[in-house]
Each structure stands twice: as structure tokens, then as C-alpha cells.
Symmetry: C2
Subunit: 207 residues, 2 copies
């Protein structure tokens, strides 16, 4: 079975529909998904962005919110604009990494549903704790692991890996042959690429 | 028949596959396309960008070139990276506007094929002249009209209209009910929207 890494940021708007879609799309292609939470903040800071580009560039931001509204409507996903936007995603990302890998997808979908579907504050430990409990986890133990030195280091390592891969934003799907596909609208192409064996021969003659 | 405006910038990379695809996609949906060349430069300058964001933000630029390579390969379109990038698109845009509307699509596709398929310099009047002649136009008359005060004013008016529409980049499809769809990867959604009558009711309750 082919594998892909699904890189997502809990504060990222288009990561929401992607996270809700990828499980079924991957299953249909016979592709296995590794859930890889990371943070865009440190990568954006290197480009001089201290806030979401959707806030820094209002024309782009206005477009994105309307586009996301259409995308979610077409998928039947509720959408409530987080306030503030972007949400601080540090705790959610560390918590996702503190969970066993097999539990990461369901937890991540629950975070997105709370954040973008209900407008809840995902930096609030009580919100994250409630989601963990609802999924049958030992919330106190997971949160303690998330905030431990090892938990913090795990997220830092993920951010470093994302930097090394050259991820330009979130969500991204990265195939076994390190092709990067950016955006909710590239999920299908990424999974089809992986299903073909992760490799049309890359043609570098023209570019 | 429903109408859409196809807004494109000759220097824009993703406008290339979009320009090559839109005619057949629109015909399949029974939608008529108005070709609307404009310039991104004046709109980007307002956001503080004095160069293509793909040059200003190299991580994004590297991703885009590889993605464009994959997109063009999947469509069977040749790709040769323009040098310099971005090309100065002023002459091509004025020339497109100087043509009768019915001739604008074929000319625009010819410009994109020369620029991104063959790596030719579209700011060169002899290149543009050759394309016009190959399409059976009176090249000298069209170029004179393009560079006349009226020709320059027509492009300025188009840029102002694009600004008023809030176009975040190129290409964009704008439907009769002023929905903006940005990107080569939104063509299908835009044309489907137009074919439905340009109007699911817009739901503004959540956002």
C-alpha cells in the first residue's frame, strides 16, 4: 500500500475541508495517510509574515473567506469564522502528536469541527480536554505528555521537517517520492499520484 | 446563455493552463466567456509587492514551478520557464484589448503558447506582430491602436474594474452575480456555478 503524509495546521482554513475529506478519498485510492500536524507560524516568520497572510493581505483574505464558504457549502460542512483568526494552534498540535498515531485523525477532525464548525477556541485547554474525553482518551495524561519537554520537542521536529520539505503552506500532501501537493484542491491529484506508485517519472527537461 | 468574465494576466503562470482549458470547459457547460486581460502589477503594488510574489517568496515560487510542471504535463502542454520571469505583459494586454472581442481568445492563447510553451519574449513588438500576422490580423493597425491613448485607457479601465471586483490574483472567473473564482483549479467550479444560473443563494448567515 502506498503512503502519503498529510501535513496540516490547525489554524489553517483550507486544512479544515482537507482534513474532513482525506480519509474517504485515500481509502478510495487504496492509499494510507499519516497525519502530520505542524505549525506554519515559524515558517511564515522567515518570509517576514508575523500574522496570517489572509490578515496581512485583506484582498486575499476577503477572497479566501468567501471561497471557503462556497467550498464548505458544497461539502455540507458547517462554517463559523474563528474569532480571533488565526487561532493559536500550539496546544492542539502538541496534543495531536501526543496521541498514538492511529488516534490522530479522529482527534484532528474533532478539533477542526470545534474550531471552524462551531467557532470554539482551540487554545483553551478545557476545549481540547473535552474533545479528548469525548473520544475516550485519558485527557489529563495526554495533555501532560503534550506539554512535556518531549511533547514540545516532537512538534519542533515536525516543523523542522516541514521546513526541509519546503512546504509553502497548509494543507500539503507529500508522497513517498517527496512530491508536495499544496491545498485542499490538490488532494485528489496527490492521492492519484501516490496510487500510481508515487511516481510518474519527473520530467526536468523543460523547467 | 450564461456569461462569465475570464480575467487573466499574460505574465501569470497559472493563467496559461487556464487560458488553454477554458474554451472547451465553457462550451461543455453552455457558458459564454468574455476574455478580460488585465495587469496584476498595479494591484500587487498596493499590497507592497514590487515583483511577482513567486519571486518575493522563494518557497512559494519553487513550489509553484514544480506544480505548474505537473499541471502542464497532465494537460499535455509544453512548459518552458520564461526568462525573465515575470514577463512584461503591457504590450500583450493592450494588443488583446485592441482586437475585436471575438478574436481575443485565439490571440491570447497564441501569446501564452509563445511565452510559456516556447519561452519567447512577449514584450517584444516583433513577437506580438508575428502572432497577429499568423492569425490573419493587420498587425500594424492593431499595434497602433494598442499604443494609442484609447488603447492605453482601455487597459487602465480594465485594471480599475479588476480592482473594484477585488480580484486577488490571476486567473479569475467572475460570474454574472459577481462571484469570483480564483485559480486554474477553480475553472470547473466557476463554470458549474454559472451554468446553474450564477446563483445558489449566497448564504451569509455563518460568515
Amino acid at each position: 500500500m502506498q503512503n502519503v503524509d498529510f501535513w496540516y495546521e490547525f489554524a489553517s482554513t483550507y486544512s479544515y475541508p482537507a482534513a474532513m475529506r482525506i480519509k474517504a478519498l485515500a481509502a478510495a485510492q487504496g492509499v494510507a495517510v499519516r497525519w502530520r500536524p505542524f505549525l506554519l507560524g515559524p515558517l511564515f516568520a522567515e518570509q517576514g509574515w508575523r500574522d496570517s497572510p489572509f490578515n496581512l493581505y485583506p484582498v486575499k483574505g476577503r477572497y479566501m473567506w468567501r471561497d471557503l464558504e462556497r467550498v464548505c457549502a458544497a461539502l455540507g460542512l458547517p462554517l463559523k469564522r474563528p474569532d480571533p483568526f488565526p487561532q493559536n494552534s500550539l496546544l492542539a498540535a502538541r496534543t495531536a502528536l501526543a496521541l498514538p498515531e492511529a488516534a490522530r485523525g479522529a482527534f484532528s477532525r474533532a478539533v477542526y469541527a470545534a474550531e471552524f464548525g462551531e467557532g470554539r477556541t482551540i487554545s483553551d485547554a478545557s476545549v481540547i480536554s473535552r474533545l479528548l474525553l469525548d473520544l475516550g482518551h485519558d485527557a489529563a495524561a495526554i495533555l501532560a505528555k503534550a506539554e512535556s519537554p518531549e511533547g514540545k520537542a516532537a512538534l519542533k521536529a515536525a516543523v523542522e521537517e516541514a521546513r526541509g520539505l519546503g512546504l509553502p503552506g497548509a494543507p500539503c500532501v507529500v508522497t513517498a517520492d517527496r512530491e508536495v501537493f499544496w491545498g485542499n484542491d490538490r488532494l485528489e491529484a496527490a492521492l492519484a499520484w501516490a496510487a500510481r506508485g508515487g511516481g510518474q517519472t519527473r520530467d526536468t527537461t523543460d523547467v
